[in-house]
């Protein structure tokens, strides 16, 4: 088999399986370990695959895996709940919508379930933008300083440019929801961006699993009376009185 032909096959296999070991490739392509290793080195150098210990992974999945600890750990918590919340939220997007997607893990999950490619999307998350593009959505990104470790775009430039847009729908994550404090987050700059985005949106959806209720963080970015909350378990009655709450069953 031609070298180039084999390498193309490796790229296909890696992209399809997302992750593959050297041993699997030697088996599939009937080559020696040394050859496969050389191929992986070459393909990695050409930025066509991501070489890891023991094999290779596709570039897409690697982008997600390079996330810093904090985000990874966060994502592990309440996966089931976040999944159904995201799945439901995605159904709310219609054609012609101009959608703002906030940075954060819940909203990142939301993008996985988005099927509408007729709507237009704008986000302040680097990874969110990349994911939307990969799905074939018409995507814009806000400009500004990138904050580590959440990889959210923040700062005066960001706030200024949001003000020019008018969203039909905004999907926001939050660190806490409380009656008086409203929606809160620990970072001042992120809070500012969120609050301006909400101001520019016709409808705002807050995606929050049940653990977020009662939590209060440093800065408030939204009053709960002005948002629709999408969650997985019915919260205390006082929340239902003050805000519009949609409860999504776990097996939605």
């Amino acid at each position: 088999m031609l070298t180039e032909e084999r390498r193309k096959q490796i790229v296909s296999i890696v992209n399809e399986k997302k992750a593959v070991t050297v041993a699997e490739l030697t088996e599939l392509l009937d080559s020696s370990e040394a050859t496969i290793r050389r191929d992986l080195n070459a393909l990695s150098k050409a930025s066509l695959i991501n070489k890891v210990f023991g094999g290779a992974t596709s570039l897409d999945s690697s982008n997600i895996k390079t996330t810093e600890e904090s985000m990874q750990e966060k994502a592990r918590i309440n996966i089931e709940e976040k999944d159904s919340i995201s799945k439901y939220a995605a159904t709310l997007i219609n054609d012609q919508d101009f959608v703002f997607i906030d940075s954060g893990t819940t909203t990142l999950k939301l993008i996985d379930y988005i099927t509408n490619t007729n709507a237009k999307y704008i986000t302040n998350g680097i990874r969110h933008a990349k994911k939307l593009i990969d799905k074939g959505c018409e995507t814009s990104i806000l400009g500004g300083r990138i904050k580590t470790p959440t990889e959210a775009i923040i700062g005066p430039d960001c706030v200024e440019s949001i003000s020019k847009y008018h969203f039909t729908k905004a999907f926001m994550g939050t660190n806490g929801i409380a009656i008086d404090a409203g929606c809160t987050t620990p970072d001042v700059d992120e809070a500012l961006v969120k609050s301006v985005a909400i101001k520019q949106a016709y409808i705002t959806y807050i995606l929050a699993d049940h653990t977020k209720f009662g939590q209060v963080n440093a800065v408030t970015f939204a009053d709960i009376s002005k948002c629709c909350i999408i969650t997985d378990k019915e919260p205390a009655k006082r929340y239902l009185e003050k805000s519009i709450v949609k409860v999504v069953s776990n097996n939605f």
Copy 2:
């Protein structure tokens, strides 16, 4: 058999089988290896097939010249050259620099070699931003519409926000460099962003391997007299007279 006739047959065979070895062709066309090789060289030069070690592959699977090649496919061309160019360019970044990094594959490679985390960076490439962040650099991103398939951020928002910045250094990729046409790219929107970025930069470096010289694309974004060109092979003398050219040896 006529030479031309045989060559046409080779093209058909290659296109049909997608990949074929020299040995197979000698068998099928009843010619010597030397003849087949000569044919492959000629057909490759005429851009009718893709010559690889051991045989040939069809063009359609690897590169379509009609549209802009996707980022992935571009990345595998001239790896060594791009490597040494990027490596050198990275050494030009000092503390206190405010650096603009253009979207594109060469500049993406550049980021791999960046060691200075004291400088501040701003880019219009999604992947570029992510990579800079992962390296621990203070990074900003321009806002605007994201263009597929290059994943560059473009549009009026983008142009407007660049104008507020003043870069000490700008690193730009290009599709072509010519004496009269200057630096050119096939996309109008990308060209606009590039030209504004250059205007806001104190020094502009154009990263271009030797294959880019003499190429002209649809839109000009820079005059070569106003940029420093970093390349891998000494170009024609007329370029040296009109612009500042730094030639980086292959094993830099």
